[in-house]
């Protein structure tokens, strides 16, 4: 072995060791700051982690774009969805009077809320865009109660990190981190464009997360679970989306 190649070898070894150590420190820091998404494993983990980490670093206090009343789309598209369950149809026949939103997990006061109760809380509206991962979009006025208010009523425990939300459709559930859950534009939406939220658009109760794409805005919400560990839910990937091949983070 010549001197040159030995020096090269030592040098590249030192560079590799520094790189690995740096990566280790970086991952540790990223975990501490909540920059690692639940679907960080597997072949798509790098891109997904970079997307989510960039989002967390760039947009903690940013607001989704809001529009003028004149920019509201003439028809809010009700896209295709799985057939409604019998349970849903029964509740629909009763005018959703018996619809309940259960709140449990890491909260001081677990409970179940009727739509009437939710509507008695501070009512907020936002004119924002719903964009689907397929490419289409519309703008509507969404009315509801900020999720942060419901979480305040239930009293979240200090160690809570995520809110998992479930649709009445058993195959549809998702989760957001506390930063998104407490964001002022994150609503439990029950109204659209001045009326009740139609079933096609997710009524009677839909999660509205305007800084993320449509599929994060789960329709027909019946349950919220506050947690510090997404591994306990489903396959541990944070939502039904990664189980179906889609990214957990849907901000892009």
């Amino acid at each position: 072995m010549t001197d040159l190649s030995r020096r090269k070898l030592i040098k590249s070894g030192a560079v590799a060791a520094t790189g690995i150590a740096g990566l280790g420190v970086g991952i540790g820091l990223a975990k501490n700051y909540g920059l690692i998404p639940p679907d960080c494993g597997g072949i798509w983990g790098v891109g997904e982690t970079l997307n989510y980490a960039a989002y967390r670093l760039l947009t903690n206090h940013s607001m989704a774009r809001e529009f003028e009343r004149s920019e509201i789309s003439a028809k809010p598209l009700a896209n295709e969805m799985p057939p409604l369950t019998d349970e849903f149809k029964t509740l629909q026949a009763g005018g959703f009077a018996d619809w309940r939103l259960t709140v449990d997990g890491m909260v001081d006061r677990p409970g179940a809320f009727s739509l009437e109760q939710l509507k008695s809380y501070p009512r907020r509206s936002q004119i924002t865009q719903l964009a689907c991962e397929e490419g289409w979009s519309y703008v509507a006025e969404w009315t509801g109660v900020p999720l942060s208010h419901v979480l305040e009523v239930a009293g979240i425990k200090p160690k809570a990190k995520y809110v998992v939300y479930f649709s009445i459709d058993p195959d549809w559930w998702d989760s957001i981190d506390m930063s998104d859950a407490l964001h002022p534009q994150t609503y439990l939406a029950y109204g659209m464009n001045g009326g009740d939220l139609s079933v096609g658009n997710g009524g009677p109760l839909r999660m509205r997360v305007p800084r993320q794409l449509g599929y994060k805005n789960v329709k027909f919400i019946t349950r919220l679970t506050v947690t510090d560990d997404l591994k306990k839910f489903g396959k541990g990937l944070g939502s039904a989306s990664p189980e179906g091949g889609y990214s957990w983070f849907a901000g892009v």
């Binding site: 891109g47 947009t59 774009r65 598209l77 865009q129 490419g135 979009s137 703008v139």
Partner: protein
Amino acid sequence: MGETQSVPQKPAPEAGALSRSANRLLRHTALVRTTHWITASAFLALLVSGIEIVISHPRFYWGENGNVLTPVLFKLPIPSSRSLVPTGYGYVLPDQNGWSRYLHFQSAWLAVLTGFVYVAAGFLSGHFRKNLLPRAEDVSWRALGSSIAGHLRFVQPDAADAGSYNLLQRLTYLFVIFALGPLVIWTGLAMSPAFTSAFPASVTLLGGRQSARTIHFFVAVSLLLFLLVHVGMVWFAGFRSRMRAMITGRIDGPVEDA
């Protein structure tokens, strides 16, 4: 060490320059070769995943909003992977958006980070100034005209030019690197509701989300056209020689060619 043995051990006069050593020329530096192939792989992944994503909604709009209830700017005459979209075909393709979206963003990070390295190194090493900026004697309509005419007549590249790029080639590369590249990144980010919440001007300047999507599509088509012409020109100029140059960096000089 095989490569260094076949080439005379003579340091390049200027780092990054296309330098001449005996009858073997250094056509591409290691940095250019590495970033070239990483970018090429990432672009192919972006292309395939981008096509799959477009198939889920092969309709284009202008302005802020668009969906199957609104008029289109144009639509692609292809079937769709969503039953929601009226295409005129009697079938719906299987949904490929899950992995396509994961792959699209992962490759986008790879392409963008590689692009940053390439552009930073290109400025620092003088690569842009020496190899891509038109030579002083070529800054004229006449030189441009003769370069275009040469390409149209399919004149074989001069062997003496094996160590450098011709005028049209330089202008095209500069356009891809400094116009199409940034534009495809910008219009891509302008479709992200998370990104636009932090930087709303990124989408309002383009006229809205659907305009951003439509521009993104046309820039991608332009990049695909560039790829096809680029590969065609490599074929025409000598596929083996040009491929070897982009892999090993070396190309046969005028002496061997003659």
